[in-house]
């Protein structure tokens, strides 16, 4: 596959017009928008619902071992154990880069968070997460926030609204779209799911299996091998995005997406690849932004958490409360922000999910107000009917 189109830079039409644009690579995608000033905001959407209890295990809570037994990650200090986040929470060892940022006070870990919705449907929850509302809207909260900015209205006419733009950046502010030439390739997990469907067809099934073998996939439906193209695509895309964000006249807002989190089976094996991709991507982002990292905040969110207990396939099902990360030189990091609800059975939501105690909208609103310095009406426009979720203070360095 060719290199990401990092040359899509100032001077190209989309940016000259002050519009947003997207680029995509494999299962990951990025979209951009311009913004006056030097502060950068990146939102990374983890599609498929990352298991927060797995990635940030609350090893200080005795309920964790009770719920997850042998599936719980070893405590910090043990072999294959979590990286410590200060005594109560650990971090998955695949996120070593993020852990270094945490040690440098550049990463904030938020636990027991969720949006205001209680949907356990991926699609509905992703739409609500991106809409920033309790009902599905046709525009995303980030687009509506950008609407308030002075330079976003000048060049609306005449550009087709891109079809590759995530809902988060869709809306009245026109958004161009861009995709690299050639065909994207699905992740290995998706290929295996397709194989399972194709297997029912006596004519297509064997040929499809042969095609998979020729491309080097294992002929099995459950496998934990770390070969997903996202493993490499996401860091490359993040690097390209960082270069664009670093340009003097480049975009100031980017949205990236990465899938592979829907770990209904063999979770421990399957989650490692996406985590490493995310970690490498964040490192690329920091390196590529260079001095601009100091004015950057990266919000990493997923549509919901997963069940507190494991299912019968060494995986977890759709849950509620989960984890978000806020990373960047502008972030007041080095801590875990959590009103911890506890994992004892009675504290679980519906006796199955981590009880959410913090609204994702508060985080986003805090970033819009304190990082992008948007006026109050713009923040309100981004998140309608969100009075109950006050902007979170103290997310950023003074």
């Amino acid at each position: 596959m060719s290199a990401p189109h990092a040359s899509f830079a100032p001077g190209r039409r989309g940016f000259l017009l002050g519009l947003a644009a997207t680029l995509a690579l494999g299962n990951v995608r990025a979209a951009f928008a311009q913004l006056p000033g030097e502060r950068r905001l990146v939102v990374v959407v983890l599609r498929g619902a990352m298991d927060g209890l797995h990635v940030v295990p609350p090893y200080g809570d005795p309920g964790l071992a009770a719920l997850r037994a042998e599936h719980a990650m070893a405590e910090p200090g043990r072999e294959g154990g979590a990286l410590d986040l200060g005594g109560r929470f650990g971090l998955h060892p695949a996120l070593a880069g993020l852990h270094a940022m945490y040690a440098a006070n550049e990463a904030l870990v938020l636990h027991a968070v969720a949006g205001p919705y209680r949907s356990r449907s991926h699609f509905e929850a992703q739409d609500l997460l991106e809409s920033g509302a309790t009902e599905r809207l046709t525009s995303g909260w980030l687009n509506r926030a950008l609407q308030a900015l002075p330079n976003s209205g000048g060049a609306r006419a005449g550009l087709a609204v891109g079809t590759g733009v995530p809902l988060l950046l869709r809306g009245p502010v026109p958004v161009g779209s861009y995709a690299p030439p050639g065909l994207a390739r699905p992740s290995e997990e998706l290929i295996h799911r397709i194989q399972a469907l194709q297997a029912a067809d006596p004519r297509l099934g064997p040929v499809f299996a042969e095609g998979m073998r020729a491309r080097g996939f294992a002929d099995q439906t459950i496998g934990g091998r770390d070969r997903a193209p996202d493993r490499f695509n996401f860091p490359r895309l993040a690097a390209a995005a960082a270069r664009l964000l670093a340009e003097a006249n480049g975009p100031r807002v980017a949205v990236l997406e990465i899938g592979g989190w829907d770990t209904h089976a063999a979770q421990a094996a399957r989650i490692a690849g996406p985590l490493r991709a995310l970690d490498d991507g964040l490192k690329e982002m920091k390196a590529g932004l260079g001095p601009h990292w100091a004015r950057t905040a990266v919000l990493v969110v997923t549509e919901f958490g997963r069940t507190a207990r494991f299912n019968g396939n060494q995986g977890t099902d759709h849950g509620t409360g989960g984890v978000a990360f806020l990373v960047g030189g502008a972030v007041a990091g080095g801590r875990v922000l959590a009103d911890w609800p506890g994992l004892a059975g009675a504290n679980l939501l519906e006796n199955r999910d981590l009880q959410p105690t913090r609204d994702l909208r508060s985080l986003a609103k805090g970033l819009l107000r304190d990082h992008l310095r948007l006026p109050e009406r713009a923040v309100a426009q981004a998140f309608p009917d969100s009075a109950a979720a006050a902007p979170q203070s103290g997310l950023l360095r003074a």
């Binding site: 995509a24 299962n27 995608r29 599609r47 498929g48 619902a49 991926h122 699609f123 992703q126 739409d127 046709t138 609204v161 079809t163 590759g164 809902l167 869709r170 779209s177 995709a179 065909l183 994207a184 390739r185 699905p186 998706l190 290929i191 799911r193 397709i194 399972a196 469907l197 194709q198 029912a200 067809d201 004519r203 297509l204 099934g205 040929v207 499809f208 042969e210 095609g211 998979m212 073998r213 020729a214 491309r215 899938g259 592979g260 989190w261 829907d262 209904h264």
Partner: protein
Amino acid sequence: MSVRPFIAAIRFGLGPRLGEALPADPDAWLAAQIASPPPPPQGPSVAQMLLAREESQALNRAQAATPGGQRGPVIELVRAEALAWAERRLTTASPFHERWVDFWMNHFTASRRSGITAPLVGCMERDAIRAHLAGRFADMLWHVTLHPAMLTYLDNLGSIGPNSPAGQRARRGLNENLAREVLELHTLSPAGGYTQGDVQELAKILTGHSVVASGSNPGYIFRANAHEPGEKTLLGRRFGEGEGAAAQALAMLGTHAATYRHLAVKIARHFVADNPPAAAVRALETALRESNGSLPAAQRALVRLREAWEPPLSKFRTPQDHVLAACRATGAGAEQVVAGLAALGQTLWTAPQPNGWSDLAADWIGPEAMMRRVDWNYTLAGRLARVEPAAVAEAALGPLARAETVTEMRRAGAVRDALTLLFSSPEFAHR
């Protein structure tokens, strides 16, 4: 919902369209498309295309030092033809009619791989195929055979009667290409029992039918001085000298019993099964013969075939079928269709040989071809505006969607993955 409207839309049409109701009465829906087909679309004429081609060539000669391929107005026109083709198939209210057009375009393949033919293929669809779909096969045959796209594609420009003034002067002779393909592919087929002598005789009959590619009035021309003089004998029947003999010979071939049998097999293979049941072939053959080759009569016989309605869907979708069906089911645009055809190896009107694109699954089902199709599905799904996967599945397949596919789609972690699963399911792969 009953399965019959879905079969009508998938098997006879181009796949259901998102947001469009399926026909309540599929038989009436098909009958209406047979009885009153839509008017042919507008498009550039042969003369306009050839003039644009000449202009482009002049431009290229002037800029010979500049690197880069062909440029100029003809490229734009050809691109516009492809987009118009796609747009029409995405939005038509008569998808059975459009599939019927494409079937005949493939039967009479004129490929854009041949330079001078490239800009003329769309003209052939309008002038020779669509214009004669309401009539008899023999008339279509005549107009296609003498259309500039076919005359150039199968080299009739270079076929000179050896005893004609031009042949005597230039010491040049026959080019049998067009005559051979008319007999082998377009009419009798080898089962019709013609000989090499018949090929040569038909080639002689066709001499002189040519194309002026440049000048102020480019297009079809009969060059009397290249026409082979004297009487010719084709399949035992004698044809006189001159321009009119081609029409007479083509009328004979176009109404031949072997031609009707050949066409019946091809129609049944396209609409019913790779190995069509003999009864279905017989019914189509009878309809053609008894109506003197009426194309609407063949269509009426086709939609009455019990075998054409029987689930499960057994015809493997060619890349063209697949791309159109996926784009219609999701509201994707003409650009996606044109790019999709290229990505999956079936660029519009570029069949590698005069026998056209294969209608057999075995020629399309290959390991890497299937992987590429999944890649394309995934690429398309990533470029779509927000659509509801369950709604797309319901629109595209209705009761034909298997429970396994619906379950996997529901469990997918992203809209894009769910749509990829749908388009990559075995039921979506068939029509």
